[in-house]
């Protein structure tokens, strides 16, 4: 069955911040217009919104339709895709497959999340919906607490130190210094991470991605839709979603991010690429330990060595495989349903030489990894330069 080539032809995104003066819809329209303005056709065949908890955060569902109407594109098929924090990557995957199959020629993917209208404990409750209501929320466990348990298990079982765990947040913050859209643009030291406020022992404030608002949009298009265009584009070479046992404690091996492992393998296979060919990877470090385990699951580090390798410089900007080139979840930010699309927009910037001071020289291939829950869902995509 012949499949269309699929391109990311244009992107748009808001800064990630506490947007007191912008609503969920304001953010979504802003990012969408920014992406659509770079495209002559202006009317995508499909609109897909990635978002996790608009029902709780804004008492709003039916996001596909409301964003479509906001853009004046009534008549366009539209719906929301929800997969907790992997809503963005999952929404993109749906659009990618629709274009790839030839069913449509173009799709606008918008990831958006408005978190700051909620009080901190309400945000906790909203995020906790990624986990079992009846057995995880029931014991009062926040999402951070689950990751705290994972971090303790990781450190005790595999001999990882507090200092080593701090490495990925340090890389993130260094990379965000020159990222205009990033939420936190100050470099930090490992000591700062290790001394920050305890959230869920052993995870501290600086091990955890922040709360923020933002929207990111990308335009997917096939050859026909971009014909005649002189724009620089990235090509989507592969994309896979995988799922795992729902709760971390239901797994035989809690330290095996099987979802990410399978999604990465599948996406790379589809792309026909060996892992060593990647020029950069945007990983889902909602918590430092999750970043480490993601790197291990994708095979870039041995078991137990994700943080250790980061500390040794294996993932810094000058290395063979820079990670989180604009700050990752910790420093660029993590408006949950939007994150997956931010990662893809950033990969696009790298592969079209638009990354400014954050440019990975000669970047040829990029991967993005976006998870929901504690690697319960994992959406991995692989990109290359468009020919």
């Amino acid at each position: 069955m012949s499949r269309s080539k699929v391109y990311v032809s244009s992107v748009g995104f808001t800064d990630i911040a506490d947007h007191w003066n912008k609503s969920l819809l304001d953010l979504a329209v802003e990012a969408s217009r920014s992406a659509l303005n770079g495209w002559s056709k202006k009317k995508p065949d499909q609109i897909i919104v990635g978002n996790m908890f608009s029902a709780v955060g804004a008492r709003q569902e039916h996001l596909g339709a409301i964003v479509t109407a906001g853009l004046g594109l009534m008549g366009t098929p539209a719906f929301k895709v929800e997969a907790a924090c992997s809503s963005g990557g999952s929404a993109f995957n749906v659009g990618y497959n629709l274009v790839r199959s030839g069913a449509i020629e173009s799709a606008l993917i918008v990831g958006v999340e408005k978190m700051r209208d909620l009080e901190p404990e309400e945000v906790s409750q909203a995020l906790a919906m990624a986990e079992s209501a009846e057995y995880t929320q029931f014991v009062g466990a926040t999402f951070a607490a689950l990751n705290g348990l994972l971090a303790r298990y990781y450190m005790e079982q595999l001999g990882v130190t507090r200092d080593e765990l701090s490495s990925i947040p340090v890389i993130d913050h260094a990379n965000a210094v020159n990222a205009k859209h990033a939420q936190f643009r100050k470099a930090i030291s490992p000591e700062v991470v290790g001394r920050s406020q305890m959230i869920a022992d052993p995870l501290r404030l600086f091990d955890c991605a922040p709360v923020g608002d933002g929207a990111a949009a990308v335009l997917l298009a096939n050859d026909s839709a971009v014909s005649g265009s002189k724009r620089r584009m990235a090509e989507v070479l592969g994309g896979k979603i995988s799922t795992n046992d729902f709760s971390i404690y239901e797994r035989d091996d809690m330290l095996d991010f099987k979802s990410t492992r399978m999604a990465f393998k599948g996406a790379m296979q589809e792309a026909g690429l060996a892992p060593g060919k990647l020029s950069l990877v945007e990983i889902h470090d909602a918590f430092s330990v999750v970043g480490a385990l993601s790197l291990e699951a994708m095979g870039f580090s041995k078991r137990g060595h994700g943080s250790k390798d980061a500390k040794a410089g294996k993932y810094s900007p000058e290395s063979e495989l820079p990670i989180n080139t604009f700050g990752g979840l910790k420093a660029r930010g993590h408006p949950v349903g939007a994150t997956g699309v931010y990662q893809i927009a950033e990969a696009y910037l790298q592969l079209t030489d638009q990354a400014g001071k954050n440019q990975v020289e000669g970047a040829k291939y990029a991967a993005t990894q976006n998870i929901g829950g504690v690697d319960t869902t994992s959406a991995v995509h692989v990109f290359g330069r468009a020919a």
Binding site: P120, E121, E122, S124, Q125, A128, S132, A133, E134, Y135, T136, Q137, F138, V139, G140, A141, T142, A144, A145, L146, G148, L149, L150, A151, R152, Y153, E156, M198, I199, A200, D201, P202, L203, D245, S247, I248, Y249, E250, M254
Partner: protein, 129 residues
């Protein structure tokens, strides 16, 4: 909320989980499909009430509704039948809540809906001393 929890009160009060009638594996929380062999032949089974701590953390900012209980210890406990359960560990001597500690189930207030709403009871664990 009352009804969602009422429906599974036996699971909360008596740790009723699942047993696969095909391969014998036992699970808590309950399952629809056996995680070991994939069978759908699943029956209710009460879990053993003792186990050991695999990992723990201390939570200072719990979910809304749990403030009265904070700070509290959360742990993943491996029960004697191999099932792993997420639970609070309460009322135990200083330093006793750690990886490897032996714990047993008790019953406590899990969630309280203000001054006029219902009280949801459920399992928590205590270090055996």
């Amino acid at each position: 909320m009352e009804i969602q929890h009422w429906r599974i009160r036996d699971r909360y009060y008596r740790l009723v989980g699942s047993k696969c009638m095909q391969c014998g594996a036992e699970f808590f929380p309950p399952v629809y499909t056996c995680k070991k062999c994939g069978s759908e032949k699943i029956k209710d089974k009460e879990m053993p009430k003792t186990g050991r701590i695999l990992a723990y953390t201390i939570l200072h900012e719990p979910l809304p509704g749990f403030e009265a209980q904070a700070p509290f210890y959360l742990a993943i406990v491996k029960l004697e039948n191999g099932a792993k359960i997420l639970t609070q560990v309460v009322d135990s001597p200083e330093g006793s809540i750690k990886t490897g500690a032996k714990v047993r189930a008790t019953i406590r207030r899990a969630m309280v809906d203000g001054d006029s709403g219902q009280i949801i009871y459920g399992y928590k664990f205590v270090v055996e001393t």
